[in-house]
Structures are given as structure tokens and as C-alpha cells.
Amino acid sequence: MRVVIAEDHALLRDGLTRLLEAYDFEVVAAVDNGPSLLPALVEQKPDVAVVDVRLPPTFTDEGLQAAIAARAAVPGMPVLVLSQHVEPLYARELLSDRKGGVGYLLKDRVSHVAQFIDAVRRVAAGGTAMDPEVVGQLLARHQPLAALTAREREVLGLMAEGRSNGAIAGKLFIGEKAVSKHISSIFTKLGLPPSDDDHRRVLAVLAYLNV
């Protein structure tokens, strides 16, 4: 799979490259600043891009802006955004085109190598990978979720992170059947039409949470 990396710290850039190459990704471009990111993305059309939010020259949210612009130029281009901090506001902006293939993770998550690679693959496949911290922040503030049981809230949280029914079942030590039962009950309680599509249900959840 072809990857573009954008990260201004040389150490982290090399680390990411090494990590991804170890898992059979081909790093076709590794840029260290905002202005060269967008052309690299549009030219290379990678299978997935791994982008740091904060890049030179402004050291603000250049990476995020470039990712959003790239997805406007090449609709649905999978982008996994990494950041030293997570902001539900940015998650909303990333998801606002409702096309899937989006990830937004804390940089720390890279150290859980297997989970990180799994997230990159999920995003490349058009799925979603939301940081539990973003999901947690959103779930914590939303009152209509009071209708959900504790178990359902757990399921919703994992679902919002972008996990499949199988993964949720494994994580909560319950059957996949139970998971889908919980999910249909969540959809009913939140007034959302059920859907089989993995990333669409995440978008639905986040869209609902972003009222």
C-alpha cells in the first residue's frame, strides 16, 4: 500500500517510515512542511496519508487544512491525522464531508504498533479511526445519551472509534450477536436508521453528537 507521510520532526518522520515499511507499506513521499503536503497528496494519490496536524511554516493546523483540502480535490482520499492533542472540533471538520476514510488519533497511539497499523489499514479501506479520547469527550457531554444503558454506551464508544462488530465483541467479551443487538437498540434510542456500513454508522454517530 502506498503512503504519504507529513511530519516535521525528523525523528518521528523516520520512525513512522520505518514502522510502516516494516508492515509492507510503501512510503512514496515524506514531507516536513505544510505547503509541500497538498501537491504531494494530489500528485501521488496515495492509498492512505498519515499527517501531523501541526506543520511548518505556521505551526498551527496546516496539516489538518491540507488534509481537508486534499479530500476536496480528491474526494474520499484516506487521511489519518495524528496530533499531540485531540479536539472534537477538528474531528467534526474532518468528518464533515461524510465520505469516510478518515482517522484522527493521538500521536501516542503510534506506540501501540499493532493497533496503529490496524487503524491505518482501516482508514485506507475507507473506514474510520477515531481516538477514544475524542469519542470520550463527545460522549461525556451529550445528554440524550442518558437513555442508553452503560453497556450500550460502551458499545457506542467503540463503534464511534471505528471498530467492527467483531472487534467490539472481542473487546467486551460478548458475542457478535449481542453486539449487533446492542447496536440496533442504540440506533432505535437515538432515532437513527440502522445501517450495515461500518464507516457510515460512525459518521451517523458523530454527526448526531455534533448537534
Binding site: V53, D61, I68, P88
Partner: protein, 426 residues
């Protein structure tokens, strides 16, 4: 302006006029007392005791006039020199007698009394005459009293003429109410002429204000640095040391006990995540990343999203603020929002930010219980201090039963144009 506002302002001004008449009357005994205590100073030193007392009364009286002027849109600063630390009789006497503001207060007493009386009576008399025209005259006619007139009709001879007093009275009442705010303003102008600080006094006040706020600012910065140092030392630094030790141990074990080494490495990873979480919290407390990235507006929007109460943000800040001002503004809004979330029981919160005339205004209103009191907690006082460092102010309106409105103002300039997020419509 709405006609109800207009009438309300008029009524308020008339009430202010009545108050100013009542206050004006007290000027005369104060004047006499001042002269007497001045004259009595050589006589057994009676004035040494009396004069400070009388001056205190005069200052209290002047303060009421300043307050009254402020209610009608003309705030007047206090010009007095700060009180001396010593409570000795002579020191206090000297402090009072050498303060030019004492003599300006004294010079104001008589003209202030005349203006207060004349303007106050005028603002009350005209509307009263209007009310007489509306209410009294029909009664008068029906009661059948003798010769009487009103306005331009004098004497009134027929009932028809009598009824003409009604429109006349209405017009006069309207004129009286419309005029009253101007009379208040004229009174306030005269008060300012006498009671506002002179250029010199103003500079002195400014210096003392700056000295206080600078000292507070330095204190809070030093405390902040100490906190950061402690947090780093006890938190992230300690964790990184333990991380190094764990990895070192794993290195030793990798041959002898691979399973143990693996366990240690997993532990090391956990420790590194914890250190990162800690650093992240620390950074957020120093300067939130979203503030650096998106400026005040974006950062306040992010705050609003995290609040458990539905919060709307309206902003018109077409540019970035200087970093220290931006930071002060952000933490002030964050503190007010945290208060609202914690105490107000509000169902919704509104934040408005706008920049005009070289001033950033931040208003946070909620529909909660109200009854917030700056004296009650340290939070609001902290905001005041934070803003004061930049000559900013905070005002609070929070009647019991709500709503609570906190308005904060910061004089500041806008610098670089705003970086607009491309998906702002989302």
C-alpha cells in the same frame, strides 16, 4: 430606539433628578462644616480631628455624585491620593490638606448644590406639570372649582377648553421625559468638571493602578512557573526516569528471560503514554494548542463543544490578537464557562465575542439560577485580576433567579488576519 426605552430612560432620569436634589441639599451643611473645621484648626487643634472627618463625609458625598453620573453614562474616576500608612493625626491632616482633590471637592460644593437643585427641580417640575394636565384638570372641572387655567388656556371657561389640557399635558410630559436625560447629562458634565481627576492626578492614579496590576501579574506568573516546574519535576520527568530504568532492565533480561523482557517493555510503553498524558494536560494549562492553532474564536468554539450545557458561540473578531491578550481572554472565558457549567444549572449558554473601537468584548450569558457573586468565590476575582493586567474589566449581572450575564472588556489591537478553517461551514 424603542418608545418604551425612551420612556424608561426619561423616568429613570427624573428619579435621578429627585435624588440629586436630595443630595444637593446636604452640600450646604458640608460646606459650612468644612469652613468651620478649617477655621478651628489653630484653635486648640480641633480642626486636626474635625477636618479629616468632614473631608471623609464630603468624599462620601462626592462619591455618590460620581456614582449618579456613572449611571447616566459618565463614569468619573476618583482623584484622591492613596491614604498614608500611618494613622497619626498630623499625617492624616497633611495628607488631606495637601491633596488638590480636597480643594476641588470643596470648590464644587456650592456650584454643585446649585446645579443639582436647579437641574433636578427642572427635570421633575416639567413632567409633573404634564401629569397635572393629564390627570388633575378634568377632576377640577367636575369638582366645580372656580377660575383655573392650564397651559395656553387661561382661564378655562368651558368643558371643551378643559379637555384641551389633556393633549397639552401629554405633550408637556413627553417633553419633560425627553429632556430629563439631557438635564442629568448636564449635571454629570458639571460634576465631572469639578470632581474628575486632573491630568496630573490621572497620571498618578494610572501609575498606582499599573504598579498594583504589575505586582499581581508578577506574583501570579511566578506562581504559575513554580507550578509548572513542580508538575514537570514530579510528573513527566519522574516517569521518563522510570521509563529509562524499565527499558534498561528489559535490555538485561532480553537473553535470560525474554518473557520478562517483553513484560517490562509493555510496562515501559504504558509509562511513556502516562508521561505524554501528563505533558498534554500541562501544555493545555499553559497555552491550549487549539488556541495557538485557531485563535480565540476557534478555541472558544472548542470549549463550547466540550461543555455539558448546549452552548452557542457568536463571534466577530476579524483577526488574531496578541498572544498574551489572547491567552488572558481565553482563560477568562474558560473560567466563566466552567462556572456556568458548575453552578448555574442553566439550560443553555451563549458566548459572544466581538472587536470594535480597539476593544475586545466577551459576553457570556446563561439562563440559569443567577446569584453569582464575585465576593463569594476566587474564580471571578481571578478573572478580574487576569484582565486588569491588560487594563481589561469585568462586569457581572446575576440577579437571584437569573439570568447571569458576564461582560468582559479588553482594550487591544487586532494583528495578523485570521486563518480561516476551510470547512467553517461544517
Amino acid at each position: 430606539m424603542d418608545s418604551r426605552d425612551w420612556i424608561r430612560d426619561g423616568v429613570r432620569a427624573v428619579a435621578g433628578g429627585v435624588l440629586s436634589v436630595a443630595l444637593a441639599i446636604t452640600n450646604i451643611p458640608l460646606f459650612v462644616l468644612f469652613v468651620v473645621s478649617l477655621v478651628l484648626t489653630p484653635v486648640l487643634g480641633i480642626g486636626l480631628v474635625l477636618l479629616p472627618l468632614v473631608t471623609a463625609l464630603i468624599r462620601l458625598r462626592a462619591r455618590l455624585s460620581r456614582r449618579l453620573a456613572a449611571t447616566f453614562g459618565m463614569p468619573i474616576a476618583r482623584p484622591y491620593r492613596p491614604a498614608p500608612p500611618s494613622r497619626g493625626l498630623l499625617v492624616r491632616y497633611r495628607w488631606i490638606i495637601t491633596d488638590p482633590a480636597t480643594w476641588r471637592d470643596f470648590a464644587w460644593l456650592l456650584p454643585g448644590a446649585v446645579a443639582g437643585l436647579v437641574l433636578g427641580v427642572l427635570s421633575l417640575a416639567v413632567p409633573l406639570y404634564g401629569v397635572e394636565g393629564i390627570v388633575l384638570l378634568p377632576l377640577w372641572i367636575w369638582l366645580g372649582t372656580g377660575e383655573y387655567g392650564y397651559g395656553v388656556i387661561w382661564p378655562i371657561e368651558t368643558v371643551g377648553q378643559g379637555f384641551l389640557s389633556l393633549p397639552q399635558g401629554t405633550v408637556i410630559l413627553a417633553i419633560g421625559l425627553a429632556m430629563a436625560p439631557y438635564l442629568r447629562r448636564a449635571d454629570a458634565l458639571l460634576t465631572r468638571l469639578f470632581l474628575a481627576p486632573t491630568r496630573n492626578a490621572e497620571l498618578r492614579l494610572r501609575v498606582s493602578h499599573l504598579t498594583t496590576t504589575r505586582a499581581e501579574n508578577l506574583d501570579s506568573q511566578a506562581a504559575e512557573l513554580r507550578r509548572i516546574e513542580r508538575d514537570l519535576h514530579d510528573g513527566a520527568q519522574a516517569r521518563l526516569v522510570s521509563l529509562g530504568m524499565t527499558i534498561g532492565l528489559a535490555e538485561e533480561m532480553v537473553e535470560a528471560d525474554p518473557a520478562m523482557a517483553r513484560k517490562l517493555l509493555a510496562e515501559a510503553r504504558e509509562t511513556s503514554s502516562d508521561a505524554l498524558v501528563e505533558l498534554r494536560h500541562l501544555v493545555r494549562g499553559i497555552h491550549p494548542p487549539v488556541l495557538a492553532e485557531r485563535g480565540l474564536e476557534g478555541a472558544v468554539r472548542a470549549l463550547a463543544m466540550a461543555l455539558p450545557i448546549p452552548t452557542s458561540v457568536g463571534a466577530a473578531v476579524p483577526g488574531r490578537l496578541d498572544t498574551p491578550v489572547e491567552s488572558a481572554a481565553y482563560f477568562a472565558v474558560a473560567e466563566v464557562l466552567a462556572n456556568a457549567a458548575r453552578h448555574s444549572m442553566a439550560r443553555s449558554v451563549q458566548v459572544q465575542l466581538w472587536h470594535s473601537d480597539g476593544k475586545l468584548t466577551m459576553r457570556v450569558s446563561d439562563d440559569g439560577l443567577g446569584g453569582a457573586d464575585p465576593a463569594g468565590g476566587t474564580g471571578l476575582r481571578g478573572i478580574e485580576r487576569r484582565l486588569a493586567a491588560f487594563d481589561g474589566t469585568m462586569s457581572l449581572s446575576s440577579p437571584p433567579g437569573g439570568p447571569t450575564v458576564v461582560t468582559m472588556e479588553l482594550p487591544c489591537a487586532l494583528s495578523s488576519p485570521k486563518i480561516t478553517p476551510s470547512s467553517e461551514t461544517a
